[in-house]
Symmetry: C2
Subunit: 251 residues, 2 copies
């Protein structure tokens, strides 16, 4: 199911299993999520797809991400499988195709699907948003925009956001969302945006530095005034350690 | 698929989707996992099952847990979907049935299955281990016993243990594994068992009390000496808060 394919060979895929990707990016102090707009009904959907008979879920998610963003090597994590019975209805994207005169394989699309949710963190500026077979627009939406999505995609975004917020309390975040070099105020803004609340500047800096996941560079942000803030980069060794063992260093 | 059913009506279940439950219990200072021993080959397997056409994954996991342990209302969490291609081989439990002369529906069992992993924390003494259709023994094994399990069940247990360990660094654990009242040494032993290492007594107590998730009772452990340790219970309100927001109270 590449972006420019004109048919979907449903026999390549397993019945009943789909995946949906919540792709987060950070831009202009906003947390954004990559969405698709369907060709006919103009509804919004998350990038997603089906599981090929010869690939793992992780390979399928990488394939979807690569096709929608142009990027490889994205931070990617399974976070929940969605299996509500209410979502068993035929995917609206398929009704959309029917409305357009295309005859999809309803024996496949009409089945009940459970969907494996992945979330991904990407560097906004590096993404080349690319629509898929069902859509003609691939665009960033502010995560708080409360757009109406198909199926349970609103709920999938909400849940991904919950997981991301909880993750802030025990794992580092930022390496995949910020440029290589960033200032402390930029990092703080990322946290504030995800958490949806303001944080105290001094407490944030003190706590963040205590985790030892940052290298302070001997360089200030360009174009700034005399008091321009210093640049930081992540200390990748410690960052990885904190990803595996938690920020507090564990017990 | 109840424990005493003699056939499995495969048309009740969705193709391609199974679930496996890593049920942890704590007893005699050992972390244990509930296992099934297959009738013929005597291999071990995790309790699991398939997804009924009319139930969610959570309902399926509750059903499996209820059938294997006799318990409702168990702490239960999805932690990962396993979809390696190597696991696509027919489930050995089914070969086991064939060896016993039973003819299973190989059109169903011969398909590729992805398996949704759940882990559960239960109070050991309350469990009534009950075998399923494929097994004649349901027994607790020490999690470190390095038993040989069917398919990727070793890997599923390893991964569940990883998740449990990481969880110790940001969420409380114990409410579902310990009796209602417990001593600080008992709680510490639980942590040490999960982490697989000894912890400093004073640091453990200081850190644990700082989370404010315990109520110290005006009562010492019975049958103990003059210096018998005090009993504690979890402060459920704060415990729940820490489950949602992390032990550190978040940002």
């Amino acid at each position: 199911m590449t972006a420019d394919s004109h048919t979907i060979n449903t026999s390549d895929f397993l019945d009943h299993i789909s995946l949906d990707c919540v792709i987060f990016g950070f831009h202009n102090n906003e947390l954004k999520v990559l969405t698709l707009q369907l060709k006919y009904t103009r509804d919004y959907a998350l990038p997603g797809g089906f599981l090929k008979t010869n690939e793992t879920l992780e390979e399928a998610a990488k394939r979807v991400l690569q096709e929608r963003t142009g990027l490889d090597n994205i931070f990617l994590k399974q976070f929940k499988v969605f299996s509500d019975l209410a979502r068993a209805a035929t995917n609206p994207a398929v009704n959309d195709l029917v409305a357009s005169g295309i005859k999809p394989d309803l024996d496949f699309f009409g089945k009940r699907f459970i969907s494996v949710g992945f979330y991904a963190l990407v560097e906004y500026t590096k993404v080349e948003p690319t629509p898929d077979f069902f859509s003609d627009k691939c665009i960033w939406k502010n995560v708080n925009e409360n757009e109406s999505y198909i199926l349970d995609h609103n709920q999938i975004i909400e849940k991904a956001l919950d997981v991301l917020r909880l993750q802030l309390s025990y794992q580092p975040i930022g390496y995949n969302l910020l440029p290589e070099k960033f200032t402390m105020p930029e990092l703080q803004k990322l946290y504030e945006t995800i958490l949806g609340k303001e944080l105290d500047r001094r407490n944030f800096q003190r706590k963040m530095l205590s985790y030892k996941i940052l290298n302070k560079l001997d360089e200030r942000k360009r174009g700034g005034a005399y008091k321009a803030p210093y640049l930081y980069e992540f200390n990748l060794e410690n960052y990885q350690k904190a990803l595996s063992h938690g920020l507090s260093g564990g017990w």
